[in-house]
């Protein structure tokens, strides 16, 4: 290094040290990375299983929704909506006790933990899974296909708050953010968000914003589409979107929760075409740092059998990733439910069985599911 190089090194070190002194507390959370990392892996594995099961179980569904599809809802659980509260509680109503600094909770209203701003209607055959998600960072509905050459078709539906008219970011990529009028969606205003940076615009997901019948602005991000479909498919998916809050019934509820516990993630994924498979997952954060995941999926029929226990020891898969360890599980009534903690606490041997007893499965019949999840 010459003198100028060394001076630059010193200045950068001094600069970042000075900035660090006034920096906000770090939000980096290794436990959350483990949680999301597992979730990513799990989703990849699940889509493969979903595709296999969908083919096996619902050839008829494919036929109905075959090429060209239909305008009706596709793949949304047909269970009746129940107990979806329309009122609202104070923003911190979800907290079971005093908030902790590291809490990262999802919005909870009453006993409900998962409410998305809208749901998909028509979807192309290439979509195999519909998922509703609520995290501390937001809520959305996602529809995606299976991985093909590390890519997959994906639609992500989000919404702006009521009364908010979104702006286009002034800078997108290396160019100006642009609003390009799109064909109206169900006769209402719609536009694409893109960039004057052509190379950026070509390589990015397409972003369509459209106003729903409820006056709310919705946003549909699409990726993994063939070039020929990048405009027409999102428009058609958008036209099928059912606007308005949707609280999917879930196959599980909790009989009790320990103090200082919040819900940090809630999701329900479901085969897009056909009734099964499905999977619901709730993650709770205890004392601000201890994460416990409750997962429910189709399982054995009949009453709960045997004593709960771990099902199989995890070993690495072909990619070196550990096999998914479901944790402590029980099954019955066509459902299997498991509890698992991210970082086992010293008293894990006693707390996980207690968590398992808190889980109240609602069976495999979606008509018995409910939006009322919390005690």
């Amino acid at each position: 290094m010459n003198g100028e190089d060394e001076e630059l090194s010193v200045r950068m070190a001094r600069y970042v040290a000075a900035e660090e002194a006034a920096a906000p507390p770090s939000r980096v959370d290794p436990a959350l990375a483990v949680l999301r990392g597992r979730e990513l892996h799990r989703r990849r594995v699940w889509t493969v299983a979903s595709a296999v099961a969908a083919v096996a179980l619902s050839v008829g569904s494919f036929a109905v929704l075959g090429s060209g599809g239909g305008a009706g809802p596709a793949g949304i659980p047909a269970a009746p909506r129940s107990g979806s509260p329309s009122g609202s509680l104070p923003p911190d109503a979800y907290r079971k006790s005093g908030p902790t600094e590291r809490s990262s909770a999802v919005p909870v209203v009453g006993r409900t933990v998962l409410t998305v701003p809208g749901r998909f209607g028509w979807l192309p055959d290439s979509v195999s899974t519909v998922e509703y998600r609520s995290e501390s960072t937001g809520v959305d509905a996602m529809a995606y296909g299976d991985l093909v050459d590390h890519d997959r078709v994906q639609f992500l539906l989000t919404a702006f708050p009521e009364g908010v008219t979104p702006d286009v970011d002034p800078l997108i990529g290396a160019g100006d953010g642009l609003r390009v009028d799109a064909a109206p969606v169900n006769g209402r205003e719609a536009y694409w968000v893109t960039s004057s940076d052509a190379s950026f615009a070509q390589g990015t997901p397409s972003r369509l914003r459209f106003r729903g019948a409820d006056g709310i602005w919705y946003q549909l991000d699409s990726s993994g589409l063939p070039e020929a479909d990048r405009e027409q498919l999102p428009l058609r998916v958008a036209a099928g979107v059912v606007p308005g809050r949707y609280t999917p019934p879930l196959p599980v509820s909790l009989s009790s929760l320990p103090p200082d516990t919040v819900v940090s993630n809630a999701s329900l994924r479901h085969a897009a075409h056909g009734a099964a498979p499905w999977e619901a997952e709730l993650t709770f954060q205890e004392q601000g740092i201890h994460y416990v995941t409750v997962r429910v999926e189709p399982g054995q029929d009949g009453p709960p059998s045997g004593s709960p226990g771990p099902s199989g020891s995890p070993g690495p898969d072909a990619n070196g990733f550990p096999e998914y360890d479901p944790g402590l599980c029980s099954s019955g009534y066509g459902v299997r439910w498991c509890v698992r903690e991210l970082q086992p606490a010293a008293d894990a041997g006693s707390t996980m069985p207690v968590w398992l007893t808190r889980v109240v499965p609602r069976g495999s019949d979606e008509r018995s599911w409910s939006a009322d999840v919390l005690p």
Partner: protein
């Protein structure tokens, strides 16, 4: 037990490197909140590739490469709410102290660099990597690193970030 060992190992690694990764991320993006997001996304990716990271000779370098690539990928593909560099007002200080002025100059000068040049500067001059090491982390040739560095330094000289150093004083 295999997974527990893996998770514990990962958590220990991230806990010991989070501060350092956050600083590198901050130098790349000049925003602590965004730096946190970058690090969080990077360590999530790191977790999903922890087996590969464990086989890497230089695990720190692997983590840093994931971070830099995440930053560069975001520049290309994410719909990040970016404001134009140097547009941020300096609040509450009409006449910054000399050290602070140097920091502000450097921040603005770095922010004005194209992302790849900025990443090159951070790797070369903050992380003290050689040209060859930087090329390996960025997945490009040594010649490319040299040209990126040269352009970046030229831009920094034109700004006040390096003006008082070396030749600028001549």
């Amino acid at each position: 037990m295999a997974e527990l060992t893996r998770d514990e190992e990962f958590t220990a690694f991230v806990a010991s490197r989070a501060v350092w990764l956050r600083k590198v991320a901050y130098l790349l993006c000049a925003d602590w909140h965004r730096a946190d997001d970058l690090v969080q996304e990077s360590i999530t990716k790191l977790y999903t590739h922890w087996g590969r990271a464990g086989r890497a000779e230089n695990r720190d370098g692997y983590a840093r490469t994931v971070l830099v690539n995440t930053f560069l990928a975001e520049q290309r593909t994410a719909w990040w709410r970016r404001t134009r560099p140097a547009a941020r007002p300096v609040e509450g200080r009409a006449e910054p102290e000399p050290d602070l002025a140097v920091s502000l100059d450097l921040r603005e000068a770095l922010a004005a660099l194209p992302p790849r040049q900025r990443a090159t500067v951070v790797l070369r001059y903050y992380c003290d990597l050689s040209v060859e090491q930087t090329a390996a982390e960025l997945g490009c040739s040594s010649g490319n690193v040299k040209s990126q560095s040269s352009r970046a330094l030229e831009a920094l000289r034109r700004s006040s970030a390096l003006r008082t150093v070396g030749r600028s004083g001549a």
